[in-house]
Amino acid sequence: MTAVNPEVQLNHTPGHVKHDGHNMTGFVIFLCSESVIFLAFFAGYAVLKLTAPQWLPDGVDGLEVRMPLINSVVLVSSSFVAYGAEVCLHARKLWRFRAVWLLTMAMGSYFIYGQYVEWSELSFSLSSGVFGGLFYLLTGFHGLHVITGVLLMGLMLFRSFKPGNYDKGEMGVASVSLFWHFVDVIWILLFLLIYVWQ
């Protein structure tokens, strides 16, 4: 293989590979993986609910649904608002994007506040049997995702003030928006599992 023909180099045309644009692929792969941890928690919840000798702790009849339902409506509709923000960004209306994006953040923050109020009014704790542990674990783990989503949206909002930053593409807005839809879908499943299936 050491015999080299010097003419070869002249006919050689260099090949290229695209260097950027992997972020969305990587993020989708990450979200697929992240969804499995929720699936595992949901499966664990279902198994323990079906087999536990005592499900609800003493003195607890069930969960109040009205407040969480309002919360859910706010969170789920915020997904559509986030989509609206993306549309504004595509139309290059930066100020409108910022306003609608901020509204999404506000709705997410309201959800966290509502969750906090609900937690503080409950009569059971993390150590109140299997149900107590699972309730706080699942809602808490989801809540962490909501907080992460709001923080990421804040980062995107901050970035939008750098002049010309969104001229060459959305720089992560699509990923954060996807994350937000993910958090919402997980909440719908969680709501069905914890509040509807009592």
Binding site: M1, T2, V4, N5, P6, E7, V8, Q9, L10, N11, H12, T13, P14, G15, H16, V17, K18, H19, G21, H22, T25, G26, I29, F30, C32, S33, E34, V36, I37, L39, A40, F41, G44, V47, L48, T51, A52, P53, Q54, W55, L126, S127, G129, V130, G132, G133, L134, L137
Partner: protein, 562 residues
């Protein structure tokens, strides 16, 4: 047409040569070059092979006589727990991630990984969770002692009542290791999907890339449930919940489901890249194309799929209902099919080949031989009646060490010797390599073959003292284990001395076909840089005489001139 030897591309190509003595400091920095990270992974994990090996030496020293005389039985529990954890989470997973880092970008012609910073962060988590895990030895009450699977209720015992105890640190380390592995897996899969060289369709990828992809897919699906289970275990241990505490209404068997849903596929995460290494090396050293390339490639994902639905075979004797046993016995045996496809493909490759028996090939052949044996005992263990009889005996220990060390360990050593010249730019010493192989093969066989008999006769695992009737098998096993300990001496000697002053390695010392062999040894930063070859044929075209890439001679020439 003017003929000239001058080509500006050749002149600008060579970067400062990685691996040169003056820039060793980059191995201790937050470097984002996949080749530096690969070597960081491999060297770190070889260090932990010595740590885990030392623990194993004490365990075998204890077992050489029937009574518990070398260490206290409670210390012994901590030793085998930490031995298993170190070997899996600090030796095998990191070392295979090291191979992924070195080989995936070079084999597919990418300049680096898709997310270089994430890659470096994933590596630097290894020393972090290694410190946490090692800290377990110094925690009040000693290290985690409930076995590497940490079943509750044993793992939930905290008699001294300290918040930070051995088990707490163990769970924390496992969770951190999971985060690091997921970061790696996202990176590897994205790189494979998006960064292949022009012309490299999926069915032109080397098998190692296929197997790495299949293995990392398992990481992505399997690790989250383990992490979820670990978090719940941590809450049970430290924050008063009762997910797995039977006295609080929880279900300890649920943890076993979480644990094995990942930890059985984890074996395939480890063994699939080794299948990849076998598939790369047999064609090179037999000078024949890989037999049934497409079947071997697809079988990797067959294994990935099946590995997700076999986990409960670890729970045949822990109160699993009968219908579940039957399903899992069936799926477990089914996994022998794609695995068999691979074994026959390798045998078909070797058949009438022109074998070159150097160190990497010897390790490959030894690994294949051991793997066939391990596969047979694996099918035995999948059979419910046999498993209920020999479950939790030394037979199981012997079986999985035949997989974990005698197959995966051998494959890892084969890979190290085979690609050592490529990534260090130095040749290793063949004589020392062969001494290493002979000691390893005899030591490993002597270590674990006799334990099959001990297990079949009924010797339980995880005991510090045992009935004197099992003494003969354990004496043989311990002698083999000490031989394995001695085998690390020629290995370390070889690696250190040949990296420091071994003969300069040519770009393609094995006359192998593959993109990584078209690069100089060691490859420059960014591999092919702006000049990525266009792949035109399937890999492993040994003896077929057609080039792998367009303008192959240009790349060969450039690699020689660097």
């Amino acid at each position: 047409m003017t003929i000239t030897n001058y080509d500006p591309r050749i002149l600008k190509a060579p970067h400062p040569v990685p691996g040169a003595p003056d820039n060793w400091k980059r191995f201790f920095s937050f470097n984002t070059d996949a080749k530096v990270i690969g070597i960081q992974y491999i060297v770190t994990s070889l260090f932990f092979l010595l740590v885990g090996g030392l623990l194993a030496m004490i365990v075998r020293g204890e077992l050489i006589t029937p009574p518990a005389d070398l260490v206290d039985p409670s210390v012994y529990n901590g030793l085998y727990t930490m031995h298993g954890t170190v070997m899996l989470f600090l030796f095998l997973f990191p070392i295979l991630n090291g191979f992924n880092n070195l080989l995936i970008p070079t084999m597919i012609g990418a300049p680096d990984m898709a997310f270089p910073k994430l890659n470096a962060a994933a590596f630097w988590l290894v020393p972090v969770f290694a410190t946490v895990l090692m800290g377990s030895f110094f925690a009040p009450g000693g290290p985690a002692s409930s076995g590497w699977w940490s079943y509750p209720p044993m793992s939930l015992q905290n008699p001294l009542g300290h918040f930070i105890n051995g088990q707490f640190l163990w769970i924390l380390a496992v969770a951190l290791s999971g985060i690091s592995s997921i970061m790696g897996a996202v990176n590897f899969v994205t790189t494979i999907i998006r960064m292949r060289a022009p012309g490299m369709g999926f069915f032109k990828m080397p098998i190692f890339v296929w197997t790495a992809w299949a293995a990392q897919t398992i990481q992505l699906i399997g690790l989250p449930p383990l992490t979820g289970g670990a978090v719940m275990l941590l809450f049970d241990l430290s924050f008063g919940t009762s997910f797995f505490r039977p006295e609080g209404g929880g279900d300890p068997v649920l943890f076993q489901h979480f644990f094995w849903f990942y930890s059985h596929p984890a074996v395939y995460v480890l063994v699939l890249p080794v299948f990849g290494i076998f598939s790369e090396l047999f064609p090179v050293y037999a000078r024949k194309p890989l037999f049934g390339y497409k079947f071997v490639a697809i079988a990797s994902f067959g294994i990935t799929f099946l590995s997700m639905i076999v986990w409960a075979h670890h729970m045949f004797y822990t109160g699993t209902p009968n219908w579940m046993r039957h399903i899992f016995m069936f799926t477990t045996m089914l996994i022998a099919v794609p695995t068999g496809v691979k074994v026959f493909a390798w045998l078909g490759t070797l058949w009438q080949g022109n074998l070159r028996l150097n160190t990497p090939m010897l390790f490959c052949l030894g690994g294949l031989f051991n793997f066939i044996f391990a596969g047979i005992t694996g099918v035995m263990l999948a059979t419910v009646p046999i498993d209920i009889h020999v479950g939790n005996t030394a037979f199981v220990v012997a079986h999985f060490h035949y997989v974990i060390f005698n197959t995966i360990g051998f494959g890892v050593f084969a890979g190290i010797y085979h690609w050592f010249p490529k990534f260090t730019g130095r040749m290793y010493y063949e004589g020392l390599g062969k001494v290493h192989f002979v000691l390893t093969f005899i030591g490993a066989t002597l270590n674990w073959l006799p334990l099959h008999w001990a297990g079949l006769l009924g010797m339980p695992r995880r005991v510090a003292s045992y009935d004197p009737e099992f003494a003969i098998w354990n004496v043989l096993g311990s002698i083999g284990a000490f031989m394995l300990g001695v085998a690390s001496i020629p290995f370390i000697l070889n690696m250190v001395s040949s990296w420091a002053r071994g003969p300069q390695a040519p770009p393609n010392p094995w006359r192998a076909i593959g993109l990584e062999w078209l690069l100089p040894s060691p490859p420059p930063a960014e591999n092919f840089q702006d000049d990525i070859p266009t792949v035109i044929s399937e890999p492993y075209g040994y003896g077929l005489g057609h080039p792998l890439v367009e303008d192959e001679e240009f790349y060969v020439r450039r690699s020689l001139e660097a």
